[in-house]
Subunit: 310 residues, 2 copies
Amino acid sequence: MQKVTIGIDLGGTNIHTLVVDHRGKVLGRDHSPSEAQVSLRRVIDNVAASAKNAARDAGIELADICCLGVGAAGTVDHKRGVVSEAPNFRGWRNVPLGRELSRRLTRPVVVENDANVAALGESWLGAGRKCSSMVLVTLGTGIGGGVILDGKIWRGSAGAAGEVGHHSIKYDGIQCVCGNQGCFERYAGASGLVRAMRRQGNSKLRGAITARDVYLAAKAGDQQALAALEEYGVLLGVGLANIVNIFNPQLIVLAGGVTNAGSLIFKPARREMKRRALTVPGKTCKVVKALLPEDAGALGAARLALLSKR
Amino acid sequence: MQKVTIGIDLGGTNIHTLVVDHRGKVLGRDHSPSEAQVSLRRVIDNVAASAKNAARDAGIELADICCLGVGAAGTVDHKRGVVSEAPNFRGWRNVPLGRELSRRLTRPVVVENDANVAALGESWLGAGRKCSSMVLVTLGTGIGGGVILDGKIWRGSAGAAGEVGHHSIKYDGIQCVCGNQGCFERYAGASGLVRAMRRQGNSKLRGAITARDVYLAAKAGDQQALAALEEYGVLLGVGLANIVNIFNPQLIVLAGGVTNAGSLIFKPARREMKRRALTVPGKTCKVVKALLPEDAGALGAARLALLSKR
């Protein structure tokens, strides 16, 4: 019988679960609320229920699964299956998520950071299919990062590597929530785009605007919004050039809502990256859009389970 | 018979060669000028002669050596043994250094970037002995970097990884020779210390001062020089925090002349790193001084040769 596994993407709001075979073919799925605001126990119960629902959807028994994989937002100690710290799940500190899920599902469970599994998913079946080294950069409210080196997740010594959103691109710049100043995510996260928009004079967009408002206005031809996206793309390119000079990856994959603006941000970002990066790594690195925006996390979690020796 | 090898550190000015056994015990050595200003052929002849001298010093035959290792300044294509680009050796482009040396010495030769072999040397026998992940940061005129992940050099997809000196910590900052703006090495390289000194008013140090002048004045109690080192240390800490958040290494090893200032720069640099880095990676990363400033490159090159399957 071919190997089948379950990959789970556990976010602050939703649980996204896929049953896949060893080639990544989706055999079943489930989508549930995580209810992080209720309690820790509720979240874990919901994850276990989602795994069972997805197995039912695929017409398989949990007993046929060798191992399950979970990607969770936060700092994860992969070896012990523990979520050390999770800003999106209030009060989660040193949660033994792997052990708790394994007990409920009577199967081995591997746990990993959500950006890391998303990177693994893109590298397995998405934009990074032909690459052994890539960095996934998720542009959202914050900026997440997942680093794949020689085909494997680079976790760092404490499971905290790849926090590219929290590297300073302006040491005396904007104060970040993390305590640092001038973090990349202050400029190239959603708030950076809104700030770039506010810097444009005479805009029709006023009040509490979102990154999406700016992008939609730009699509409709708004000159200020177009200028804001250009400015935003340049600052995105600054951080990408740093990633390129530090990691020399084959590929940077950009994910997150703002990538829907397409060439309006990719063009200035790529140009600025090439302008700033050293010749060899700059020339050899491509910057592309994620191919699996919805499923990358669950697929990467499944991949991790398949690779696991448990 | 135990495995013996030769490690060579090839710099723009000097060639430093060591004969070592499989434990890194030094059995012989040679130190020669590289004469990079004469010609490419002269440099390669000098490296070959240095290897022969060191073998003679150790009382061994070249035929007893399984493989030699060379660390060379520049971008190195390790797989092909080619120096793609080397700013310190004018006119070197795509130099097949491995093949040329192998021909002259009739032994296999592996070639690697100099910062990378220095990192490997520190990780083998120096400050990183007990660590599987470390980043070596060499503070000189420029800033070099070597990244060891899971005990191995991270080379990147084109052999250009680890250029931590050329990541921007101020996107609208000082123009760098590399084309980028606000590079870490503009602030934490030797010129950064001189600039910090110039910012102090009323200094006795005037005219064409060097980083060494500042450090010596500080040791003699000069208040402006002490303030300059403090300011420099803080900017060093900014870049270290970025490295910590991106790689989450166990250890950062600082090398280069300016590290002789000891706690005058280590103290502000560590404090600023901890202040800016995320909690988990910041807490778990130590920042220490290199233990093998002279020999790290040659030892690392020897280690690479020992690990090589040639």
